[in-house]
Symmetry: C2
Subunit: 326 residues, 2 copies
């Protein structure tokens, strides 16, 4: 039987490779990175393959700052904290003459840097503590609704990486649980990760301050003390992953030395399949170009280790067709 004309058209359509018809990563250029990611996902989801991984073991972890959204020229949460110091300074007249607050109010970043870690902790305590978890979530959302990035003049939540949004979506379609594992504050991220990344609060791991349970105006409330409880960075990332997830990921994406241990924990000395990847910021025109010498998002040790550990190094400039949504 000779195929009819419409039958032939259908036969040709079916013969096209699936990727050409429905590319799961349209903002990624066709190159080694994209091919390696898709090959890995196909391998671990192929029920008849040697590399098959059960659905409930498909855990993927993503750093946030510099991996899912812009972290230059300063971490978004630091911009938030500095704005908060200015916003509430009227209630603290002594801040005009007390460091580290004076430095913030004077816009003197050198004097602020001179107050060191102790200064930073004081700013965290003053801006991240003394309210309920629900109040803090609202403060963060209100700030994100108003604040704009100094260079791109857009809300920070629109300065997320379109290729990474597609990757999260692609992994979720393939029954991965996608987690954020960030040095940033867990309660600073949770109010918006569902809407922005399609990642629910229970799949966000981050640094935290301690909370205290109490009844406030008849309502059971968790009050934030502002005291650091956990730092989810460097060796803290595997600790946070173990605490929150209780499973070793099979995929980890990061962009800085703060992600070294998470990448190592996910990929080194493991029996089954695993994928580690570094987003390398190489595009000063469309975003930023930085690595070994950057005070924010320093990438040095992890870049040196990438080759030995078979970590993908994603070249933002050549691997990504677009950087931001729209």
């Amino acid at each position: 039987m000779k195929p009819s004309a419409p039958g032939l058209a259908i036969a040709i359509a079916l013969a096209l490779p699936a990727a050409a018809q429905d590319d799961p990563l349209p903002s990624w250029n066709d190159g080694e990175s994209k091919r390696a990611i898709i090959a890995f996902v196909q391998d671990v989801t192929n029920e008849n393959g040697d590399a098959h991984v059960d659905k409930d073991e498909r855990i993927a972890t993503f750093d946030n700052d510099g991996t899912l959204w812009v972290e230059q020229p300063i971490y978004t949460q630091l911009a938030f904290a500095l704005d908060r110091v200015r916003d509430i300074a009227a209630d603290h007249p002594d801040w005009k003459t007390t460091q580290p607050f004076q430095a913030v109010l004077d816009g003197d970043m050198e004097a602020l840097a001179a107050t060191g870690e102790e200064g930073l902790l004081e700013i965290v305590a003053a801006t991240h503590g003394g309210m309920s978890t629900e109040q803090f979530a609202q403060i963060a959302l209100d700030w994100l609704a108003e604040a704009k990035h100094p260079r791109f003049d857009k809300p920070y939540t629109r300065l997320v990486y379109q290729p990474m949004l597609e990757l999260i979506d692609y992994l979720q379609d393939n029954d991965f649980e996608t987690y954020i594992v960030s040095g940033g504050g867990i309660e600073f991220m949770r109010p918006w990760t569902q809407e922005v990344y399609n990642i629910p609060p229970q799949q966000v791991v981050g640094s935290s301050t301690t909370t205290e349970y109490m009844i406030v105006d008849g309502k059971p409330t968790l009050m934030r003390t502002g005291e650091i409880a956990f730092v989810d960075d460097k060796a803290g990332k595997p600790v946070g992953i173990n605490s929150h997830i209780g499973r070793r990921p099979i995929i980890a994406f990061g962009n800085s030395d703060g992600d070294f241990q998470m990448l190592e924990y996910t990929t080194v000395g493991i029996d089954g399949p695993s994928l580690g990847a570094i987003v390398h910021h190489t595009d000063a025109d469309r975003e930023y170009a930085y690595d070994r010498d950057s005070p924010v998002g320093k990438l040095d040790k992890a870049l040196d280790a990438a080759d030995d550990n078979d970590w993908l190094v994603i070249d933002m400039k050549t691997d990504w067709k677009t950087i931001f949504p729209e």
Copy 2:
């Protein structure tokens, strides 16, 4: 048109209430508790009702000891710790003459109690620390495979409550995320909660010891120090819920004063629908009967507060047809 005989039979079958055809809680007697649970689930899942709750807000939390499995005559994890002291005593000859270990080896529970919290912490450190998280999980599984409950002569993982297994299943079928929130050790529970309760490790919240990230024999490893990091009991339960889930539950089940704050956090002063429930151990024949005076699973303050807070008090003896599976 007169219905044919088979048509009539079908019409009669369809007219039967759904519950009679497919009871989601077959081990629960038809009574106030069962009806209240089913009514609540129907209300929050009814998309056209006033009490509708979106799927992603359907969080249910369950205490473990005494709520999902037997906690008498001593907590299972304490039985584990005491057995571990005996199992590894040969490597610690000094334990024969050093408290609290001597008391355990002599079976002198009075002397053990006299060592107080400090003694208990020493036992935790000696039995729960000094190995990797993976080694500890295997130790726990090996013990659970061998150990038998002194009265029922069955493995502890078979002394789970059949009505609660049905409830977890029923909630999961209605798109609830079901979490364990236990004073017990998170890493003592995670290795078996998937198989026994159909609750994956990432939905287990519990007390924890600190872990340290290091490379052991070339493999990235989390070593357990044995030092207490977090106590997920009483006011710690809302703190643990916030830390791990980041959402307030709409259902909480507990059985002791250790669950008071979790029940309160879930149900008091909340705008939307919520359900708090207490498993009251009233059945000395089939399980145990205890509440206000029990050193294990003391239920006093929470029982007093149940009425005012509309917490369901589940009467094990009259509400549950069967206690254990099979």
